[in-house]
């Protein structure tokens, strides 16, 4: 009896994920992010302080910056595109509950963000290998071409099998990054730097929270206002400690926005990585819990809104 909603959820989330991935803008953002991440250690000409710190911070900043665009744009459009194109009405005239349909859009976005973040995690590793070893191995300068190689592979696959280019490219870029990172991590003495991964994972949580906010807003607003409000939430969440946090002790009116806004500072831990340090997994778990609760709250509001929305 409970199997049908689950099967529906899987089918709908899969479609939602594919529909976002198939928008060329998503691929463009993902490839740009990985190329810039891998390229940037070579642009740092006068490193000072810890070797690789500046490129590492930039890599995480790229993951966050481009990821926010991926999450906000994808999430803003995943629901409204289906409602506008009418596929939503075709699906909702089947025995699919509104709640299920709405939640599947979120799950689809989570899948997109996870794939995007995997690429970013791998690119961050390549970034660190270049920072540490470029002096000894000049050939590493070719690494920024890895995502491009993925695109070429996708073109070949598209030509031979006629599969859609954009979807294949997503997979082939990921595979190329994984193979390159795997091969190099095996050969280089630095190896795979697991201590950086929690920082990437935390940023992934932040992206998921943002996606939840964007999907919820898009039940009532059009794409442009949704993206604008998301940007505002993003900026306010970044400065929320500064703007509201310092008043929470003295004034009740500082507390409310401080509680309501997502606090991105929880997900930004580059300082913890300084000097070979690492982020404890318990911290990651706590931040993950915060992200899950926050997203669940936001999605609950979204479900209620979507239940009463007219679907054209």
């Amino acid at each position: 009896m409970h199997r049908l909603p689950v099967r529906q959820l899987i089918a709908l989330s899969g479609i939602a994920c594919l529909e976002v991935i198939r928008q060329p803008i998503t691929l463009l953002l993902m490839v740009t992010c990985t190329v810039l991440t891998i390229l940037n250690p070579m642009l740092v000409i006068y490193p000072f302080g810890e070797v690789g710190k500046l490129p590492r911070d930039s890599a995480l900043a790229f993951q966050l910056g481009f990821g926010l665009l991926v999450a906000a744009y994808g999430a803003c459009t995943t629901l409204s595109r289906e409602v506008e194109s009418g596929t939503a009405s075709a699906v909702l005239s089947k025995p699919v509950s509104r709640e299920n349909f709405f939640f599947s859009k979120f799950l689809g976005m989570v899948a997109v963000i996870v794939i995007y973040s995997l690429c970013s995690i791998l690119a961050t590793q390549l970034n660190q290998m270049i920072s540490h070893e470029l002096r000894d191995h000049a050939l590493l300068a070719l690494l920024p071409l890895t995502p491009v190689a993925g695109l070429l592979a996708a073109a070949v696959i598209n030509y031979t099998t006629r599969r859609p280019f954009v979807t294949v490219a997503f997979a082939s870029v990921l595979v190329c990054l994984a193979l390159t990172t795997g091969a190099l991590a095996y050969g280089m003495h630095g190896g795979f730097q697991w201590r950086i991964v929690p920082a990437n994972v935390l940023i992934t949580f932040a992206l998921i929270v943002l996606a939840a906010i964007a999907i919820t807003l898009s039940t009532r607003l059009r794409t442009a206002p949704t993206i604008m409000i998301c940007s505002a939430v993003l900026v306010l969440g970044l400065v929320s400690d500064f703007l509201f946090g310092r008043f929470t002790d003295e004034n009740w009116w500082g507390t409310i926005p401080y509680m309501l806004l997502p606090n991105w500072q929880h997900f930004w831990v580059t300082d913890g990585l300084t000097g070979g340090g690492s982020v404890p997994w318990t911290y990651v778990l706590n931040a993950g819990g915060y992200a899950v609760l926050y997203a669940a709250g936001v999605l609950a509001i979204g479900t209620l809104c979507f239940r009463w929305t007219d679907v054209q």
Binding site: Q8, L12, E19, T87, S89, A90, K94, P95, D310, V311
Partner: protein, 317 residues
């Protein structure tokens, strides 16, 4: 549910239905339906007619629970349209064919089939049969984004039939179809109705509606202006038509004179023409036999076997 219980109760009941579209600030924008009352009985083909913007699609979306009524109430199978369970017995073809552009025909149908409570074998069987029925077996591996309008429409129809619905709601089912496809859809609708399914459809093509609908409602600006059996509404009072084969001028004169003396009025004489539809279908049928590899939709097969259940009784004459 027993057979007799489902045949006596109306399938669709709408009572004093109003729908006002509101803007973002909840201010009323368009009063699209202004008090619609109607009932649809099981097994009948019900036509919604009306000019553009009359509110046909709005009414259909209210029946499906896609829109919420501003006031009044609707029952479908004695359930609220927002009840998910009512959807298990409904098939819906939207006004504009809306498909995921990057899926092939087969993937599209399999996707929709997975939203129903059907096991994998039944899903595959139904998808196979429907692809055969709508005549897209040759194009099933192409993505639907590349389909022509009518081909997309056929997929839309197949998608609506996946669950073997008791109530089929079709918003302009024949728009965008070639005459053969149109004839085929009309035959299909009639075949389904003969097997006890209920059909609600909207259309601008009066000829189509006249052909197949048992009852029609004519909407204008959100109100029902005429409602009744098609035959009753269309019967021309005080006229009789006699048709007979080619005769000599001589015989003709005798017949006309006889009518004139018997009734005292002078009859009109003209030659009936073959409807263009029949002529066109004949041409295409012969063309189809000479073309080896048609690019578009072929004329398709018989009613899909899984839909062919229930007794095939003739509708009342």
């Amino acid at each position: 549910m027993t057979e007799s219980a489902s045949t006596t109760r109306p399938v669709v009941v709408a009572h004093d239905l109003h729908k006002t579209f509101k803007d973002f600030w909840r201010r009323p924008k368009v009063h699209a339906l202004k008090g619609v009352d109607l009932e649809v009985q099981p097994g009948e083909i019900f036509g919604l007619l009306g000019p553009n913007g009359a509110g046909k699609s709005t009414l259909i979306k209210l029946l499906l629970g896609l829109l919420r009524p501003s006031s009044g109430d609707i029952r479908i199978f004695d359930q609220s349209p927002s009840d998910v369970r009512s959807k298990e017995r409904i098939g819906y073809l939207p006004e504009e064919t809306t498909l995921y552009r990057y899926l092939t025909a087969r993937e599209t149908l399999s996707f929709y089939a997975r939203l129903f409570d059907l096991d994998a074998a039944a899903r595959r069987e139904r998808v196979d049969q429907l692809i055969e029925m709508i005549g897209l077996a040759r194009a099933e591996t192409r993505v639907v984004g590349e389909y022509s309008k009518g081909m997309g429409r056929r997929i839309g129809l197949a998608q609506a039939l996946l669950n073997d619905p008791e109530l089929l709601i079709l918003d302009e089912p024949t728009s965008g179809l070639d005459p053969a496809g149109r004839r085929q859809i009309k035959d299909l609708i009639q075949a389904l109705a003969r097997r006890g399914r209920t059909v609600v459809l909207s259309s601008h093509l009066l000829a189509d509606v006249e052909d197949i609908c048992d009852r029609i409602a004519i909407l204008f600006s959100g109100r029902v202006y005429a409602l009744g059996r098609t035959r009753d509404l269309l019967e021309a009072e005080h006229r009789t038509r006699i048709t007979f084969p080619e005769v000599t001028e001589e015989a003709m004169r005798t017949v006309l004179a006889a009518i004139q003396t018997a009734s005292g009025v002078e009859p009109d004489v003209d030659r009936p023409t073959v409807p263009l539809e029949h002529f066109f279908l004949d041409v295409i049928e012969s063309a189809q036999q000479s073309e080896r590899d048609p690019t578009g939709a072929t004329s398709g097969g018989e009613l899909a076997p899984f839909l062919d259940r229930g007794s095939d009784h003739d509708p009342d004459p």
